[in-house]
């Protein structure tokens, strides 16, 4: 122990710091033993790696193992003692972490002793399995990191290629949410898996350490030759490349929703779920409209395959809010919206998601994002004068003018305007493009930008650029936006005139955010903290307000940043209007 004492002490200190941070986070978010589970998963792995490195790889590499072997003690006993020291050290570490977690979480939650013991059993069993693997990897000497990489690749393979969630993977299931909550007994199957892994790794460790007078472990402990290093680096790079390719080319099964009412689409599947509010007739009508858009887009852009589209009406959502489900293991576009969802917005959203998926999200790049948003709407509305007029009216309500700058900084523009008005502004741009260069040329541009097949790095490097496509069509951003802005100004939006102002007010213990609104009786503030890399608009909290003033229920400490947005539903427009959007920083 003395030989490795200071390293073990450093591991304990790092683990204590890590656990403290995890407990702080868990204290904010709840989750009983979630800090312990995360601690064992990450810091436990690192500690096991360091311990095995010291007790096995380093002793063989530094030949102090030879010093031990010439003493009157059997090699098997040396090996068993080291294994036991490592297991005891990691077991002690996990037990300390468990006690700390228990004490910390019991301040705010009721945790029974039997629940706590379940968490201890699950994490200890996992740690034992982890240690047996680490010890075996340590005996592999210079190839120990290769063993860890193999484990990492195997885990990635399980999760991403074989679609086995890690919470269901052998042994890893011990760190699932069920373990973090410690509500159910530890699965006997998981314990059996640990026993099998410990036996298997223990056997390999013993073979490496004892067979041929331990010559295998001693030989493996030597430094890598340049040729071996090159081979390992090449093998790792090839593995990464192959796994990425496999993931890219993996054919996900199509999403299926048997209860949905199907529409007749020639190129794919379009289904709308029937509910109490949306009868079969209405569902079919909506489905037919969407299927028409999908079919015509697929034909025009020469798409071979179109993912299935399903629409799920759901109570409680605003008519203009549409959410997309995140499908991890299947292919498809599943959207949910209010039963009285604005159909024009829904159809545009389906096109948007379709084109986004086709380009693997490359259509969201800043230089073409406005074209994507605009084309999605234009495609659904191009042959419907009523619909086009409505989108133009919404575009006219924008408080941000169309200009080259506002189009090329589309993220900022969208943040200022909100989804509905920003999309309308993009429509105005594309509609003007179609009027200027012709529909045929506009469709050709869309084909160049959005229908390119997935063909790897070369396609990305040589992909079409909007600036070049506009130049080929005889126009440019400057003249196009100027023309669109002129048209926009000719339209009378007929909106309610309302204004809003957001400001920080210094108070006791920090700053408060105050919103002042005139011209709107009911309005809302959407707000969310901004991290160092956060872009913004996801997961915003909402405060509904009436009258002229509201204070957000939060206090900002110095340096804290916040995105705050004031919106109201304009009854005259039928579209939410964003009155103000600011990023605030408390000073």
């Amino acid at each position: 122990m003395r030989e490795h004492g200071w390293v073990f002490a450093a591991v304990v200190v790092c683990c204590a710091a890590g656990l403290f941070a995890l407990l702080q986070k868990a204290g904010d978010q709840g989750g009983r033993f979630s800090a312990l589970v995360r601690f064992v998963g990450f810091l436990g792995s690192v500690s096991a790696m360091v311990t095995a490195n010291r007790l096995f790889a380093r002793e063989y590499g530094g030949k102090t193992q030879l010093f031990l072997e010439v003493l009157p003690i059997t090699r098997a006993r040396v090996l068993a003692t080291k294994w036991a020291i490592g297991a005891a050290f990691l077991g002690g570490l996990v037990t300390l972490a468990w006690v700390s977690t228990l004490v910390f979480m019991r301040r705010t939650e009721v945790i029974t002793t039997s629940d706590a013991l379940r968490a201890l059993l699950a994490t200890s069993a996992f740690t034992l399995a982890l240690w047996s693997w680490s010890a075996m990897a340590g005996m592999l000497g210079r190839y120990r990191y290769v063993a860890w990489l193999v484990l990492l690749f195997f885990t990635i393979y399980l999760e991403q290629l074989a679609s086995v969630p890690l919470r269901d993977a052998p042994v890893l299931r011990l760190l699932s949410e069920a373990s973090a909550m410690a509500r159910a007994p530890v699965s006997p199957r998981a314990l059996l898996e640990v026993a099998v892994l410990v036996a298997g790794c223990g056997f390999v460790t013993a073979v490496l350490g004892l067979r041929g007078s331990g010559s295998m472990a001693a030989a493996l402990a030597a430094r890598m030759t340049a040729r071996e290093r090159a081979f390992v680096v090449a093998a790792v790079m090839v593995s990464i490349f192959v796994s990425v390719r496999l993931k890219e080319e993996r054919e996900l099964p199509a999403f299926e929703l048997e209860e949905a009412t199907r529409s007749t689409s020639t190129r794919g599947v379009v289904g709308v779920m029937t509910t109490v509010d949306v009868g079969e007739e209405a569902a079919r009508a909506l489905g037919e409209a969407v299927a028409g858009d999908v079919d015509s887009l697929a034909t025009t852009l020469q798409l071979e395959k179109v993912p299935p589209v399903f629409i799920l009406p759901q109570h409680g959502l605003m008519p203009t809010v549409i959410q997309r489900a995140d499908l991890a293991d299947s292919d498809g576009i599943v959207l949910r919206g209010a039963p009285d969802v604005e159909v024009a917005v829904l159809r545009a959203r389906v096109m948007h998601e379709l084109l986004k998926d086709l380009t693997e999200s490359r259509a969201l790049k800043e230089d073409r994002h406005a074209l994507l948003d605009g084309f999605s709407v234009w495609w659904t509305a191009r042959q419907d004068p009523v619909l086009r007029a409505r989108w133009w009216r919404w575009a006219a309500a924008s408080r941000v003018p169309l200009s080259e700058a506002s189009v090329l900084r589309w993220f900022e523009t969208s943040e200022q305007l909100g989804e509905c008005i920003a999309t309308a502004l993009a429509f105005a741009l594309v509609d003007t493009l179609a009027q200027t260069v012709g529909e045929e040329r506009t469709v050709a541009m869309a084909r160049a930008l959005f229908s390119r097949p997935r063909s790897g790095l070369a396609a990305v490097l040589f992909e079409a650029r909007p600036v070049a496509l506009l130049r080929e069509a005889g126009t440019d951003w400057g003249s196009l936006t100027a023309k669109a802005e002129a048209r926009r100004r000719e339209v009378e939006p007929g909106q309610t005139l309302a204004t809003a102002k957001l400001a920080l007010r210094a108070g006791e213990g920090g700053s408060q955010v105050v919103a002042q609104v005139t011209g709107a009786s009911r309005w809302r503030v959407l707000y969310g903290n901004l991290g160092p890399w956060a872009r913004g608009q996801d997961n915003l909290r909402r405060l509904d307000a009436r009258g002229e003033q509201a204070t957000l229920p939060l206090t900002l400490s110095r340096g804290e940043r916040l995105l705050a947005v004031v919106e109201h539903d304009d009854p005259a427009l039928g579209c939410p209007v964003r009155l103000e959007a600011v990023r605030l920083e408390a000073r």
Binding site: R2, T64, F67, E69, V70, L71, P72, T74, S213, S215
Partner: protein, 283 residues
Amino acid sequence: MSDLALQLSGLTLRFGRVAALDGLSLSVRQGQLYGFLGRNGAGKTTTMRILMGVLSAQEGTVEVLGERVKKVSVSLKQRIGYVSQDQYFYPWMTARQLGRFVQAFYPTWDEAEFTRLLTVLDIPPERRSVELSGGTRTKLALALALAPRPPLLLLDEPTSGLDPVARYEFNALVSSMVKERGTTAFFSSHLVDEVEGIATHVGLIDHGRLQVEADTATLLASARKVVSAPPFEPGPGFTRVRDDVWTAAPEAWAQAGWPEGVTVEPVSLHDLFLAYARTRSPA
């Protein structure tokens, strides 16, 4: 009970295609200081490691201190003192701490003897092993090996990195242990002159086989250099080792008549070592 401290018979160990030992047989009697000579890679260290149980022979038998063993047991190891070519102590341990650590493995450990050896060999007891010179580390290894007062000492080229003074001190201590306590020492080296000065018996190993084994005086008495021009061949009873080095029974040398122009000269262990060790090399 046999008076053999060591007996190896037909010992063979191959690492892949390379035969480190190729049927090695030798015997060492108790109380002998046996010089085990051979070139680098001849199989000396492999033999030592088999005797210490670090390696196992694939064929052949090993007898240590009268016990025939397949593999050297813990109890047997407790009766062997071992000094290797390089010392791999834990770097943070002082000589005193190493003594305490090693002591736990030997029931016969003599702490007073260990302290005496540290003084005699001029080893600073409280200095960490990483701070000791190579020579002092080797002397410390000898002190650790001798403190349990083992009946058998295995010394694997212990002096190859030492300066002349340290080498002299080391050899003197080993010789005195053999003479005063009756300890058997099996001393491998390629420094022939050093072995000639202390060894009572000598064995020459080459390519994993023992070439010759005898007590030092008899071995030197049975070999001569026969110098003549043109080359002269002494006849039956004489065996050429290489070039002009011949061996025969000591009485054969005394009784032989030599024609004019032929001179017969005594050989040193160094000459004999060169003759045997170079036998398979091109002349």
